[in-house]
């Protein structure tokens, strides 16, 4: 039950894009067409879950305990390590996909390099560390991965809604200076307003 609440919280309350402003560049860039939005959404869920799992593992098992990186002043390396791990993880996944499942790569692959420079992935990795540090290692790992998956889900939900709305807005008589990105921001603000209804979720 407590995990269900975590998922609802991650998808609606603190939605990655609409409440925490993470991953905005691809969110605005890719939501022009629903087909590319679906591809991007799946890629983001896939990578964020994987990244959460791996970074949490690397941080607690590899860096924090044995090497003491996490301890007081010596956590200076975690940004660098995280970003390198994520970059190589994405590179690795991209190559595996390109070879083993070309169809999936064709639909998904073109977004994978995009994710390396995506604030959302590093963001979720960083948040996982600070948020799930307290409980036991196993519970923390499960929580982090679930949070990664739920945040990815929230990102994809917002992305799909946004792409369908923007396709409908292509037929709307939006005033000239507001066409394209400005109206996308207004839609994002309305969606954020709607999701604020869930704030204060117990």
């Amino acid at each position: 039950m407590q995990y269900v609440k975590l998922v609802i919280a991650a998808v609606f309350v603190s939605n990655f894009v609409l409440a925490q402003f993470l991953g905005l560049c691809p969110f605005i860039g890719v939501s022009k067409k629903t087909s590319s939005a679906v591809g991007m959404g799946i890629a983001v869920i896939f990578v964020m879950t994987l990244a959460s799992f791996v970074t949490y593992l690397v941080y607690w098992k590899l860096l924090y305990m044995p090497l003491g990186i996490g301890v007081d002043a010596r956590d200076y390396l975690n940004i660098v390590v995280f970003i390198v791990v994520i970059a190589s993880l994405v590179q690795f996944v991209e190559m595996v996909l390109q070879k083993s499942m070309p169809a999936l790569y064709r639909a998904l692959g073109i977004y994978l390099p995009l994710i390396t420079t995506n604030c959302a992935v590093l963001g979720v990795a960083q948040l996982n560390i600070s948020r799930f540090g307290s409980g036991g290692f196993a519970a923390g790992l499960l929580g982090a991965t679930l949070n990664g998956f739920a945040s990815g889900l929230g990102f994809t939900l917002a992305l799909l809604l946004m792409s369908a709305i923007r396709e409908r807005l292509d037929e709307a008589d939006v005033p000239l200076p507001f066409r394209g990105v400005p109206i996308a921001f207004v839609v994002a603000s309305a969606l954020a307003l709607a999701f604020l209804g869930f704030s204060g979720m117990a």
Binding site: L77, I79, S88, T117, P182, A190, A192
Partner: protein, 231 residues
């Protein structure tokens, strides 16, 4: 001379946030208070200029294939420097910016400029471009945070402006407010640019239009009727 042009380019014509639409995540996140905006733009400026410098120096050394990971590592080291400096001297700013300091690493402006400009131009030009871009970024952040803070909490930089008769619109500090303010500013920018272009085009053309109109068969016939033969 060409360096100055490089710098001014970044502020208005190719403003990273308002024109190229990159680096949006921090723009919306940290502009609920002017102090945060100032802190973030200085941090970003430091990282951008230094990383541009370093990258333009080592760009020939790095093999083509893995240039992005190398750029990332360079930027990450500078970000770590900033984070430690911030934690030491400005702990409250560090808390309010929170996760967005490490996120400077993947900030599209810095990596974008590193790849598109620093990786291909000289050291001095890259530094100038870095300066220009960060000034543009700072300009955008300041404008947005000024609007959001005044409307959202009736204060500028923390000092309350006036009781204003009715309570401040707290929504401006929240997420929807951020999106709306950015949308309106972008719209305004587009409107100004379009109007400037259409005035320029119309101005140059109207004398030619009257001449072309006068050469139409109808106009010639009317002119011939009251025998002012245009020849």
């Amino acid at each position: 001379m060409h360096l100055l042009k490089e710098i001014t380019k970044g502020i208005i014509r190719e403003n990273p946030v308002l024109v190229l639409l990159i680096g949006l995540c921090p723009t919306l996140a940290v502009t609920s208070r002017i102090t945060d905006a100032v802190g973030m733009s200085i941090a970003a400026a430091f990282v951008l200029i230094c990383s541009n410098l370093i990258i333009s120096m080592i760009k020939d050394v790095i093999p083509k294939k893995i240039r992005i990971p190398c750029y990332i590592v360079v930027i990450a080291t500078f970000v770590t420097l900033v984070q430690m400096f911030m934690a030491a001297y400005f702990p409250d700013l560090n808390d309010s910016l929170g996760i967005f300091i490490p996120l400077i690493v993947v900030n599209c402006i810095i990596l974008g400029r590193a790849e598109a400009f620093a990786g291909r131009n000289g050291i001095l030009a890259s530094a100038a471009d870095g300066l220009g871009m960060s000034m543009g970024f700072a300009f955008a952040l300041l404008v947005i945070s000024f609007v959001r803070e005044v409307l959202g909490s009736w204060s500028i930089g923390g000092i309350p402006v006036s009781d204003g008769g009715f309570a401040p619109m707290a929504v401006m500090i929240m997420a929807p407010g951020a999106f709306v303010v950015v949308a309106l500013i972008l719209g305004l920018m587009n409107a100004l640019r379009d109007r400037k272009r259409t005035c320029a085009v119309a101005g140059a053309l109207n004398r030619e239009i009257t001449l072309y109109a006068a050469s139409k068969p109808e106009a010639l016939k009317l002119a011939r009727a009251d025998n002012t033969d245009p020849g």
